[in-house]
């Protein structure tokens, strides 16, 4: 029963690659945005906050379609990137990574923001009195103290990215070996006769990955509390 076929392996490995790249690329943006939302007051902050959360509430097919319009070959951003930097998203695994990154972004940002908000700002003041310029304060005090939250956000983002379906299939379709992730492979398999066993295997793989991610995120959250108390 648990002989994973080469085709299934392809989908699993592609999913992992897509989710890892999506998470790694989204993380710096996520940290910057989490810091901005936690620490700064500016005009349009609630709009930005809503925008970040949009992929969470929008139908994924809408997000995927919007990505197709903007990052597709004929899209404004897509054509610019293709012509000037040679980066193509449409019907490529990179497009799947983009879709997954966008969909995972709200989940990735939230724990990061909460952990930055939980930091005692008086510690940052203390760092400044010891001669640390603001950017040094960020890298030596703020970020290390927020690290467990940052990792929890990355794990949750990864879990979301690896299971993303709607936006991905809308944006980059379902091409085996290129854009067919675990989710879209399961979708194809349950529509083919005799696909049940293969689908079942991939379902188990998804469940294991998701539960593993949740446990990891929980562990990082506990570490965060310990870290803030200096034990």
């Amino acid at each position: 029963m648990f002989d994973i076929s080469p085709a299934e392996w392809t989908a699993i490995l592609l999913s992992l690659r897509v989710a890892v790249i999506a998470t790694l690329v989204a993380t710096p943006f996520g940290i910057a945005l989490a810091w901005l939302l936690a620490r700064c007051d500016f005009w349009g902050k609630s709009v930005l906050d809503a925008l970040v959360h949009l992929p969470l509430v929008l139908p994924p097919v809408v997000t995927g379609y919007l990505l197709l319009l903007s990052f597709g070959r004929k899209g404004l951003i897509g054509s610019f990137l293709a012509d000037h930097l040679g980066i193509v998203f449409a019907f490529r695994w990179t497009g799947a990574a983009l879709a997954c990154g966008v969909m995972a972004f709200p989940l990735l940002v939230r724990p990061m923001r909460l952990s930055i908000e939980a930091i005692d700002r008086r510690l940052e003041q203390a760092a400044e009195t010891l001669g640390a310029a603001p950017w040094k304060v960020f890298f030596t005090v703020t970020l290390p103290l927020a690290l467990p939250g940052v990792l929890a956000g990355m794990v949750l983002g990864f879990a979301k990215a690896i299971g993303e379906f709607g936006a991905t299939i809308t944006f980059v379709s379902n091409i085996p070996g290129e854009t067919q992730t675990i989710s879209s492979a399961i979708y194809s398999l349950i529509q083919t006769p005799d696909g049940d066993a293969a689908a079942g295997r991939l379902v188990i793989v998804s469940i294991v990955l998701a539960i593993g991610a949740l446990i990891a995120a929980e562990w990082f959250a506990r570490r965060a509390t310990q870290r803030l108390h200096g034990n």
Binding site: L123, E128, T129, L130, G131, N231
Partner: protein, 220 residues
């Protein structure tokens, strides 16, 4: 050494203080709410005066008329807070070394050893701040501030969070610091006994105004 002439409006409270001192330990005395902490935060650069000037060691660090405001991290001050504020993610040794690293100073083993011995914190080096007692934490905070080689040390009620026994445990270290460390200090307290022991000059604050200034005898 320290010249202060500032005004600051904080909600309903207005602070207006002017003094100049060459003293080794300036005692800033007053009841809670007299504006002591706000004044010290202005000297540290954490709070910006509405109007006025502050000069440390001859360098103007605040001059509202000339638009000068040197940020905290370039003032070369040390600040010991009531609540120590050690970095919880770093060991005691790393906390102690933080100011030196941030200021890009070369290691100075002789000074390092002198301060560690003076404060008796050598045995705590590998511990985490969460595992220290209140008194130990405050001694490490003192060491951390001194090791950044400040030209002025600000102490805001450094014994305020400790019980009587602990206070008596730390006071001798502060006296030694005054006599041996060679760093001028501003010592904030509402405790007459503490200031009698430590201060060489007193600035008395009442409701945001300086009411007396002079030797420790003004603490009657």
């Amino acid at each position: 050494m320290l010249r202060v002439d500032v005004e600051k409006q904080l909600g309903e409270f207005s602070l207006s203080a002017s003094f100049s001192s060459e003293g080794r330990v300036i005692g800033l005395f007053g009841a809670s709410g007299a504006g002591k902490s706000s004044l010290v935060n202005m000297i540290a650069g954490l709070l910006r005066p509405d109007r006025g000037t502050i000069a440390i060691d001859g360098e103007t660090v605040d001059d509202t008329a000339a638009g000068i405001h040197v940020p905290t991290y370039r003032r070369r001050i040390g600040y010991v807070f009531q609540d120590a504020r050690l970095f919880p993610h770093l060991s005691v040794a790393q906390n102690l070394d933080y100011g030196r690293r941030m200021n890009g100073l070369a290691p100075d083993p002789a000074q390092h050893k002198r301060i560690i011995d003076l404060l008796d914190i050598g045995a705590l080096r590998d511990r985490r701040p969460g595992k220290l007692s209140g008194g130990e934490r405050q001694r490490v905070a003192l060491g951390r501030a001194l090791l950044s080689k400040p030209r002025l040390l600000l102490l805001d009620e450094p014994l305020g969070a400790l019980d009587e026994g602990r206070k008596l445990e730390i006071l001798p270290y502060l006296v030694r610091l005054r006599d041996e460390a060679n760093v001028p200090m501003v010592y904030v307290s509402h405790d007459v006994a503490e200031l009698r022991q430590l201060a060489t000059q007193i600035v008395m604050l009442k409701q945001g105004r300086v009411t007396s200034f002079g030797g420790v005898k003004v603490l009657t």
